[in-house]
């Protein structure tokens, strides 16, 4: 049995259908993860004592256990809690929460990289805690971690095939189904791999230009905020140093 182009042509429409689901699922999950991750990061920074340990314990637990099992857990157990989500919603929730725990770490590193001076200046200007976070800390922290967020976005795309295990028909699910029907897995699965490579490249390009555009916009936005910077400090961080870890 060797490569058969006929099958490639046959499977392609199914894969394109799956590709749509993959892209939508990625975007939705990432939107959940970005918001929830920021909330977790800020909560971990402003809470003390038992609540802090609870939050960081739970995020550690989620980070340390496989996403697949978490998806099964949600998929099979939410109905018992009288929450009936469609499989797709379950997947978004699982992916969103799992990646939120990753992203919260990223945000935290961004927040921690902001010099203490900024906090002191905010206090001196009589900013409320909310104002400090909203206008001083977060804009800078988020801007500095944008490239890392992009990396996680690309990583998220590559984990979406897990959705097929809870019966969401994304690309891999369509390929497996096609394979089961025709008893030929070589072409479908290889094509899924090729499409993932292409998707990854497109995503990398998008993330790159998005980071650049957002970075520039924020720069203009925060022109007033940047005057808060002390004279001696060098707050321009090199975002690439976060890329490896």
């Amino acid at each position: 049995m060797t490569w058969d182009n006929h099958f490639v042509v046959m499977v392609f429409p199914y894969l394109l259908k799956g590709l749509q689901v993959t892209i939508i699922a990625t975007l939705c999950s990432f939107a959940v993860a970005v918001c929830l991750g920021l909330a977790i990061a800020v909560l971990e920074k402003i809470t003390r004592g038992p609540i802090f340990f609870l939050i960081s314990g739970v995020t550690h637990f989620i980070r340390g256990t496989p996403l697949l099992v978490q998806l099964f857990f949600l998929y099979y157990l939410l109905p018992y809690a009288n929450i009936t989500l469609p499989a797709f919603g379950c997947g978004i929730l699982g992916f969103g929460v799992h990646y939120a725990t990753y992203l919260s770490n990223v945000y935290k590193s961004g927040i921690e990289a902001i010099p203490v001076l900024q906090w002191e200046v905010s206090k001196a200007c009589n900013f409320s805690p909310f104002q400090t976070w909203r206008y001083v800390i977060l804009p800078q922290a988020i801007r500095s971690v944008l490239p890392v967020l992009g990396n996680y976005f690309i990583a998220l795309i590559k984990e979406t095939p897990l959705l097929s295990s809870i019966s969401v028909m994304e690309m891999m699910g369509e390929a497996s189904l096609f394979g089961d029907m025709h008893y030929r897995y070589l072409e479908p699965i290889t094509m899924v791999g090729v499409l993932f490579l292409a998707l990854g490249m497109v995503a990398r390009g998008c993330v790159g230009s998005m980071t650049r555009i957002l970075g520039v916009l924020r720069e203009k936005d925060d022109h007033s905020a940047s005057s808060l910077k002390g004279p001696y400090e060098n707050s321009k961080m090199d975002p690439s140093e976060n890329l490896i870890s």
């Binding site: 340390g64 496989p66 157990l77 891999m172 394979g179 030929r184 070589l186 490579l197």
Partner: protein
């Protein structure tokens, strides 16, 4: 009745744990070897090896580990190569994480200052000596924490092999769910066991990092 169920669950989980641990350890060893071979291959003198390494890294980093494991298990038989699920799992996980590790090795080696190479050149070290006695002792401790993260990723990704009919913990939990109709128990236990594995890996990496303390291997 409950005792029977619990002992059944315990037995299944332990049986699955064995497979997961085997997968994690052999996968990590393969990944470690791949990381070094291809990470150093990327900075090799020979163009062919460089191109080959880049192809490997981009291929395995660009596609999902899920697709790779499935490809090895379902698509490779088309070329007459029938892998057992365990072998397909180890190969898929090891090669995938190895590609990520290769980038870690490359960046750690390249992060070593240029002056170090120049000093080695001045001392008339061979390339092997430069690498073995100067570069590696400095680069290795730098790689370790990231290797730890990669190992955790590998352990977590090992749950995917349950979908190619290898009976790891996740698979056993699924079977238990189907067998008994219990849902909460198997998955909660599975999550806890994975978390314990995670803590174990963290502890292991921390001890190794302490052993490879840069103060001790300073040249």
């Amino acid at each position: 009745m409950t005792e029977l169920v619990l002992s059944d669950l315990l037995r299944s989980v332990l049986r699955g744990l064995e497979i997961t641990v085997i997968l994690t350890i052999s996968g990590s060893i393969l990944a470690f070897v791949c990381a070094f071979v291809f990470g150093l291959g990327r900075v090799s003198r020979w163009r062919f090896i460089r191109v080959f390494s880049v192809c490997y890294i981009e291929l395995f980093r660009g596609t999902s580990v899920f697709v790779q494991v499935f490809w090895l298990y379902y698509a490779l038989p088309a070329f007459g190569l029938l892998l057992s699920p365990l072998l397909a799992g180890i190969l898929g996980l090891g090669l995938n994480v190895g590609a990520y590790g290769a980038e870690v090795v490359r960046s750690a080696v390249q992060a070593t200052g240029r002056d170090q190479y120049e000093a080695c050149c001045a001392l008339n070290f061979t390339r092997y000596q430069t690498f073995r006695y100067i570069i590696l002792p400095q680069a290795f401790p730098r790689m370790l924490p990231v290797f730890g993260n990669n190992m955790v990723e590998l352990m977590k990704a090992s749950s995917i092999v349950s979908l190619i009919s290898l009976s790891d913990i996740t698979f056993q939990a699924q079977q238990f769910r189907i067998r008994t109709g219990q849902t909460f128990l198997p998955f909660a236990v599975t999550l806890i066991v994975y978390f314990i594995l995670y803590l174990g890996i963290l502890f292991f990496i921390r001890s190794v990092t302490r052993l490879a303390n840069p103060q001790k291997v300073k040249v």
